[in-house]
């Protein structure tokens, strides 16, 4: 392998690795706050990437139907709950959240799609279409089972993954799409040929990490989420509603998923089920980082990106196998250092 090629692979690895790092952060956040292994994150990536490509083609992305249908279902659940408890105080706001907001976004998309908006508007529209799916999904699938064990929540995630990936196939079809790059420019840095797209990805990832850091260290909602992650009951006692924390963490995760989809969609062709693999690579990154530390998860994800790009050079057919079996040494090490017998909560 020549020096040029390894630099090029390195750049590729860092680009993909920073997307996995974003995903790993979102997955860790959701796990800490709700104890959910958030597998359906992958569908948000696919939804966003495919929606962007469709918007560029001047077509209305099918995700609007998922958004409207999901909002309707969540609103129905809220209504049923209010009827059962005869408490109406929160109902108007929640109905607005699940009905009006998705309705407004869908209407905007329907109006804008044929007018071929410029790139920034397309991206904002995609983020607006996909992000509300997070809280909607939380309301429908997870909130009724919030007290369940990690393993039950895991099955919920797989069920949600089935529903969302099935809907993805229905609304986006089986073909893959690729959107136009944000920028075609290339820069030469010494021997390295840097594509502007890579810079975009890395810069956006860094910016999001900074925003997340500010959010969690400075804002009240960020602190509430951290409190919930540390001690659910304690946070509840000081007035942090677990539903709010869950809903908020899912919104952040969906936003990050959507952004990752937007960033990756010019880099590679995305099918309705590609996101699943991409999100799982975020998990691999988080596991490599020990499933607990945010900085280590970022490092682990960059490692995944490198491993992927170098293995695609040496043995492209077994790229995925190599990436997904990379967790074996980590698991082995952890299993040799963990000796505790633990009980699952009932």
């Amino acid at each position: 392998m020549s020096f040029d090629i390894s630099l090029w692979l390195l750049q590729d690895g860092v680009t993909n690795g920073s997307i996995y790092a974003l995903l790993a952060l979102a997955l860790l956040l959701v796990f800490a706050v709700t104890r959910t292994i958030f597998v359906p994150q992958g569908e948000f990536i696919s939804y966003a990437a495919l929606s962007l490509a469709l918007l560029q083609a001047g077509r209305l992305p099918g995700v609007v139907y998922v958004l409207l249908g999901g909002g309707l279902a969540a609103a129905a659940l809220e209504l049923a709950q209010a009827l059962r408890a005869r408490r109406w105080r929160h109902l108007p706001r929640r109905l607005a959240l699940y009905l009006l907001l998705p309705g407004a976004i869908a209407a905007l998309a329907w109006w804008a799609a044929p007018r071929k908006p410029d790139l920034a508007e397309q991206v904002l529209l995609v983020l607006a279409l996909v992000t509300p799916l997070g809280p909607i999904l939380y309301r429908i699938a997870y909130q009724p089972l919030a007290g369940a064990s990690i393993l039950v929540l895991f099955i919920v995630s797989m069920a949600a993954h089935y529903v969302l990936s099935g809907l993805g196939l229905v609304f986006f079809g089986g073909e893959g799409l690729r959107s136009r790059p944000f920028a075609d420019a290339h820069f030469r840095l010494g021997v390295l040929d840097v594509s502007a797209q890579s810079l975009w990805v890395v810069a956006a990832s860094l910016a999001i990490m900074l925003v997340l850091w500010l959010f969690f260290s400075r804002s009240l909602y960020g602190k509430a989420l951290r409190a919930t992650a540390v001690n659910r009951i304690g946070a509840r006692l000081v007035g942090v509603r677990p539903e709010l924390a869950g809903s908020l963490s899912f919104a952040i995760a969906a936003f990050i998923g959507a952004l990752s989809g937007v960033l990756i969609s010019p880099v590679t062709t995305i099918y309705y089920d590609t996101g699943f693999l991409i999100a799982l690579k975020g998990f691999v990154g988080a596991i490599l980082g020990g499933m607990g530390s945010y900085p280590l998860a970022v490092l682990g994800s960059l490692g995944v990106g490198m491993l992927e790009s170098f293995s695609s050079f040496w043995s492209s057919a077994f790229k995925e196998t190599i990436v997904f079996t990379a967790i074996i040494p980590v698991l082995l090490w952890r299993s040799l250092t963990t000796r505790q017998v633990e009980d699952e909560e009932e």
């Binding site: 796990f31 292994i37 597998v39 429908i140 699938a141 009724p144 089972l145 369940a148 064990s149 990690i150 393993l151 039950v152 895991f154 099955i155 919920v156 797989m158 069920a159 949600a160 993954h161 089935y162 529903v163 969302l164 990936s165 099935g166 809907l167 196939l169 229905v170 699943f276 693999l277 799982l280 998990f283 691999v284 596991i287 499933m291 057919a317 077994f318 790229k319 995925e320 196998t321 997904f324 079996t325 967790i327 074996i328 698991l331 082995l332 952890r334 299993s335 963990t338 000796r339 017998v341 633990e342 009980d343 699952e344 909560e345 009932e346």
Partner: protein, 587 residues
Amino acid sequence: MIPGRAALAAFIAFLLAAPWLLTSFQVTLLDYIGLATLVSLGLVLLTGVAGVMSFGQQVFTGLAAYCTAVLTTRYGMSPWLTLPLGLALVAATALFLGAITLRLSGHYLPLATIAWGIGIYFVFGNLDLLGRHTGVPDIPALSVLGWKLDTGRRIYWLIWALALLALLAARNLLDSRAGRAIRALRFRSVMAESFGVDTASLKTVVFLYAALLAGLSGWLYAHFLRFVSPGAFNVNAGIDYLFMAVVGGAGQVWGAVIGASVLTLLREWLKELLPALIGYTANYDTVVFGALMLLLLQRARNGLAPAVARRLIAAPRGCAREPAAALARRGQPRAGERLLELRSAGKRFGGLVAVRELSFSVASGEILGLIGPNGAGKSTVFNLVTGVLRADDGEILFRGDAIGRLAASEIARRGICRTFQQVNLVGSMSVLENAALGAHLRGRHGTLGAMLRADRAEEAQLLQEAARQIERVGLAAHASDPASSLPLGQQRLLEIARALCADPVLLLLDEPAAGLRYAEKQALAQLLRGLRAEGISILLVEHDMEFVMGLVDRTVVMDFGEKLAEGLPREIQSDPAVLEAYLGGLE
């Protein structure tokens, strides 16, 4: 729990009659159900009973299927030779994967199973030897005694004979010494360790059994379809298998059949119905499956099997049978021997010092009371002595041997048995079975013996011992009730019965009288005196001072992790330091 004999007979009669009554297509569906039953049965045991979740059973199915496909088509080997080879390959893989993941906490294993499921899928799809994405065609049919099993109707008999055998073996397993231990794995592994169960290797055994069942299914699949390709072993196949176990009711052996039937038939039905309903073919079936799973998890988390079982006559499991020879007992040490000794033991949790420089000893044949205000560190002392926690400083000796570094199960083997402050029973098991779990170390038959019912004589002895101890603590009338149905006080008595089943030398009782009424407390005190007369020594943590002072020979008082006082009950009651600790001083 188990469908009665009538239901089982009806099920077998249906299976016998089916090939004559149904169309070829319907028989083929039954073949698929049988194949899926094998895999989901493994998951019922692994996930439902033992609490180990796997989304990767298709890995084992695929390994066995490809193994036989390649060896029979390329090397002309007999399928009957590839069966043991395939299962050996599956076993080796399962042992390796189990070794690296089974010790880790709950969420790692399912994630890891998804990861290696994806890994192996791409191996299947990219190896030339395995025919890449087109797969391996022309796999020979099986033949038994010259009879070729080359149609769905013919292989039906083999598939369902094996599925039934596996179901019966699993049922036998759950109703045995090893089965009780397996049923404690999910929520009660700390307790199981305290009674000598090696939970790590037991989990490995269950994981191995589930993998072998999946491998068997894969081998059958290859010779039934006569063609294998990677598509059958993708991640969704693994998710489907787990969904089957959940739909059927993880934890119920017959749930495997129910789950496999429901999902297989539903998918077939959706394939016909949805295009007719919507007008075009799309893979709506995953959407419907996912939505149904969500509904099921929210409405009936225990699956469909309990609802079915309720309609059938349930045979009470684990009833005492004909009289059996009593279990051998160990000799008690002579009275007055120094039994347990703590030398400057210490335990910290981060910055909190739970136990500091604690020294005391228990002599054989005495009841020692360990008292102190809440948070004094009494339960931590229990956890240190029984090996649940490891001391940071000092030494713990039992009959002269250092036990501070031993595993909980090894300490149990030496005769230290305990009850838990937070009652630690397997709620779904009967009172009798819970007690019998205590006698785990007094039996020796393992999982294989249990599946083949070679353990019945020993099982009768164990259950008889359990019945004897239950009677002793006054719970005989509740022997076949689920443990979770008892009030808290009686659950504590059951904990004592379970500890007694282990034939202890030293009994550690953590607040045994909490939740008992006055008369029950007197009966308990009577029981403990009886045990002392038999030579059993007791270390007792209790808050009811009247109960403690009337019973114990000596008392150790703890406060803030340290020993405050030690002596006869009478001396302790007038010790100023003790009064200060308990009453905040007399000013």
